[in-house]
């Protein structure tokens, strides 16, 4: 996947983005055919941005954060607050929400990234919970307490009310931008550094690289994505619940990433789609939807730890092998046997990294 990304030509990239654009814009029209509804598509894209940014941190550097609800929630509250008390300008609301969320991410990154593994996860969780409880009680005059931030006006973009389909196009545009930049980051030397951190941080440090700064930057970028998703969420819902800062929001994005496949960028977005679909469509037909969601999650962790993307990769490999063996059988004797062999080990190596 990553090797493919690095080698992608501008033309292939353009084709990829065009296909992505078509899918993102068509999603509301596809939804009703699979038991969903149009506004669910917008919700999926918003969570998709969140999961995408989360993947830049977790999938690339390997630092599992349990506190990204903080950036999502802060983004949502800030832009919601702006819409509530200033005016309906969607772009300014987004700018403010993203700026504050990113600033908080940089600060938290500095404080938490000194620790690894479980300590890092717990630190991020603790900070996020601090924000949650702050919003719930001491700051409730500003946040509306557990009633949430209510009465937010419908946002506008150059005089156009963002509601229903307009909102979806607006979110789709941001999603495209988010995908584009995430893929640029993944291809860049900076992205390579992040993967180096994941494979062996100590080794990288001993070569004289300031690993800490790279980690903080990755953390800030994923915070920016979470903040962007949070602001879009506030714009879409015209309401911000305190639950947006709760740890369950962080947990949800982890589940999405696991189901979709860490480190693949697109995988977590697909994961967001699957989780939200289950949550919003399955829950209407059975009370036991949480049980089914749990089983699906366990299936992925046990049998497909690389998520949907690994599944797709395996399917593609299997198809190719079948095709190759068929071709080989046809051309037996004519071509040397191991002609197509080098591609397989190469792919395996790239997957590990």
């Amino acid at each position: 996947m990553i090797a493919q990304l690095r080698n992608a030509s501008p033309r292939r990239e353009a084709v990829f983005m065009a296909v992505a654009a078509v899918i993102l814009i068509a999603l509301p029209w596809i939804m009703p055919y699979i038991g969903g509804y149009r506004e669910l598509a917008t919700r999926i894209l918003i969570w998709g941005i969140f999961a995408l940014g989360f993947d830049i941190l977790v999938g690339f550097t390997g630092y599992l954060s349990f506190g990204h609800a903080a950036f999502w929630g802060i983004g949502a509250y800030c832009s919601g607050y702006y819409l509530l008390h200033a005016n309906a300008n969607a772009l300014v609301a987004i700018l403010i929400g993203v700026a504050v969320a990113t600033a908080v991410a940089i600060l938290l990154g500095y404080l938490t990234l000194r620790r690894h593994g479980i300590y890092f996860a717990i630190l991020t969780l603790a900070f996020a919970e601090m924000f949650y409880y702050a919003a719930l009680a001491p700051l409730q005059d500003w946040t509306g307490g557990d009633n949430g931030l209510t009465g937010i006006r419908t946002p506008e973009l150059f005089g156009v009310k963002l509601d229903g389909d307009e909102m979806h196009y607006f979110v789709a545009a941001w999603t495209l931008l988010a995908i584009y930049f995430a893929r640029r980051i993944a291809r860049s030397p900076f992205g390579l550094m992040l993967r180096a951190i994941k494979s062996n941080e100590t080794r990288l440090q001993s070569t004289g690289v300031n690993v800490y700064r790279y980690k903080v930057t990755a953390f800030a970028i994923s915070g920016l994505y979470a903040g962007l998703a949070g602001t879009l969420y506030a714009l879409y819902e015209t309401y911000v619940p305190t639950e947006s800062l709760h740890w369950t929001t962080s947990g949800e994005v982890v589940i999405m990433s696991v189901i979709g496949g860490f480190g693949t960028l697109i995988g977590p977005m697909i994961g967001a789609g699957i989780v939200l679909y289950l949550e919003n469509v399955l829950s209407a037909s059975t009370e036991q939807w949480l049980l089914i969601q749990g089983l699906i999650f366990m299936f992925f962790v046990i049998f497909l730890p690389g998520g949907v993307m690994e599944g797709l990769q395996r399917l593609a490999d299997w198809g190719r092998k079948r095709h190759e063996s068929a071709t080989e059988a046809e051309a037996r004797g004519a071509a040397p046997k191991g002609a197509s062999a080098p591609t397989a080990p190469l792919r395996q190596r790239s997957q590990k990294g």
């Binding site: 009703p32 038991g35 969903g36 509804y37 149009r38 506004e39 669910l40 919700r43 409880y133 719930l136 009680a137 409730q140 307490g145 557990d146 009633n147 949430g148 209510t150 009465g151 419908t154 009310k161 509601d163 819902e237 015209t238 309401y239 619940p241 305190t242 639950e243 947006s244 949550e279 919003n280 469509v281 829950s283 209407a284 009370e287 939807w289 949480l290």
Partner: protein
């Protein structure tokens, strides 16, 4: 040859166009006539805007869909389940008659559906989470085309849905929500609450507490630190101080606290002789059982027996805390299955026959909300939301519970008799559901307050978004 061809071609196309225009005119006229005959009564009787599309109005087809959005997972799942039972019963009574349809006065309901359309329903899971509740409501509104939705067992969830209702132009009939804000500062034109509120609990409870425990009591409050808790504390403080009580102190306890010992120690170290627990659900179960274990109820302070008060009771909480802990403890409820008025009994009997157990107050409010909405639509003669809202506003009726029920127009709060109850001792109860005894039935009139006491804006009849 060529000329002939041209003429022929031109002729063909001209005939086609004429045919097309003629056909379309016919179709349009036909459709127009059909729609006129179908909607004429509403159109001419109900003002010029009666055909504007709002939310999921107009309702096409021979059925109308209601959405029941209740907690199916999480800590209030039991309440949600009971609400759902009541909703299903209400839908059956609307379609086939029976239950409160026979007791509601004045009533326009005929027991053949609503406005001649069969009532169907869809359900959703709020998870007692405002975000999930709104997502679920959006699905009902957009995919399932509901004309009204109802349910919930938390004020935050009710308020979140109420705002969505206003935005989408779909009426929301709130379920269990007790915070003053729901019909106070967060009241909405498209939201209606039949359940009572914290202020009414306080007003009902104050005089009875003074009568039972005396007027020179010193109260210590423990309050769940969220908006419902705050409004409950303010209301209790206000009403008990009116009776001459002193409020010693109040501690805000975080929502979801499991260990109350530090707060209870503070109570023990004070000279308070009444402990008021402004907690709901699991919070109340924990704080009350721990207070009993701390020996609160065996304590003598200022030469008086120490007492515990739980302003808002529910059957679920009483079951959770257990009879041995709640016996003799005062609180309030919106309704109780032991009430013997015709409306309550019609409901209790059909509910018990269907499910083999008595309904809870959550079930009652869910049932009544569905019936009152349907009656308003039938009275208005249309599902057009602004007309249904106007039919509900200041609607007064009997037969949905004890005494009169009034849906006040200025804040969409219903006023009706409420109950001051006391926990039964373990040997007094007849079955596992029989946990609370009614001490006094408080008339709705005596807990009424001015709309302006809790300022808020209902918003427009026609949604702006």
């Amino acid at each position: 040859m060529s000329e002939d061809h041209t003429i022929k071609g031109g002729k063909t196309s001209a005939v086609n166009r004429r045919q097309f225009v003629r056909t379309m005119a016919g179709v349009t006229a036909g459709v127009g006539a059909l729609s006129f005959s179908g909607s004429a009564p509403f159109h001419f009787v109900r003002g010029a805007y009666a055909q504007d599309a709002i939310g999921n109005f107009p309702v096409n087809g021979s059925t109308v869909v209601y959405g029941f959005n209740v907690p199916q997972t999480g800590s209030y799942a039991d309440e949600g389940e009971d609400e759902l039972r009541a909703y299903k019963l209400a839908v059956r009574h609307l379609n086939e008659g029976g239950g409160m349809l026979e007791t509601l006065q004045p009533s326009a309901l005929k027991g053949n559906g609503v406005l001649g359309k069969k009532v169907e329903f869809v359900t959703g899971d709020t998870q007692t989470n405002p975000d999930a509740a709104r997502a679920s409501a959006r699905r009902m509104i957009e995919r399932d085309g509901v004309i009204m939705f109802s349910g919930g067992s938390s004020s935050a969830v009710a308020i979140a849905q109420q705002y969505l209702a206003q935005e989408k132009g779909i009426i929301f009939m709130a379920g269990l929500t007790h915070s003053n804000d729901t019909t106070g500062k967060d009241r909405r034109r498209y939201g209606f609450r039949h359940f009572f509120n914290a202020y009414m609990s306080g007003q009902a409870l104050g005089p009875i507490l003074a009568k039972e425990y005396g007027q020179d009591r010193r109260a210590y409050h423990l309050t769940a630190d969220y908006t419902w808790g705050h409004t409950q504390y303010e209301s209790m403080k206000d009403s008990t101080e009116k009776q001459g009580w002193t409020t010693v102190n109040n501690i805000m306890t975080p929502l979801g606290t499991t260990d109350y010992s530090q707060f209870l120690t503070a109570v023990l170290n004070s000279d308070a002789d009444v402990l008021v627990l402004n907690h709901y659900g699991q919070d109340m179960v924990n704080s009350l059982t721990q207070a009993v274990r701390f020996g609160m109820r065996d304590r003598q302070v200022n030469g008086k027996q120490m007492e515990v008060v739980v302003p808002l009771y529910s059957r679920l909480m009483a079951q959770g805390a257990g009879s041995e802990n709640i016996q003799g403890i005062f609180g309030t409820t919106n309704w109780g299955p032991s009430l013997d008025d015709a409306g309550s009994q019609a409901f209790v009997k059909t509910f018990e026959a269907e499910y083999g157990q008595p309904p809870s107050q959550a079930a009652h409010t869910a049932y009544v909300q569905t019936i009152l909405y349907s009656n308003a639509a039938e009275t208005a003669g249309t599902f057009y939301p602004p007309e249904v809202i106007k039919a509900l506003e200041d609607f007064e009726c009997t037969g949905v519970g004890p005494g009169k029920t009034l849906y006040r127009g200025c804040d969409h709060q219903a006023f009706h008799d409420i109950l001051v109850v006391r926990g039964k001792a373990p040997d007094q109860k007849k079955n596992e559901f029989d946990l609370l005894e009614t001490v006094e039935q408080i008339p709705g009139e005596s807990v009424k307050y001015d709309c302006d006491m809790m300022p808020g804006e209902l918003g427009p009849y026609e949604p702006t978004a």
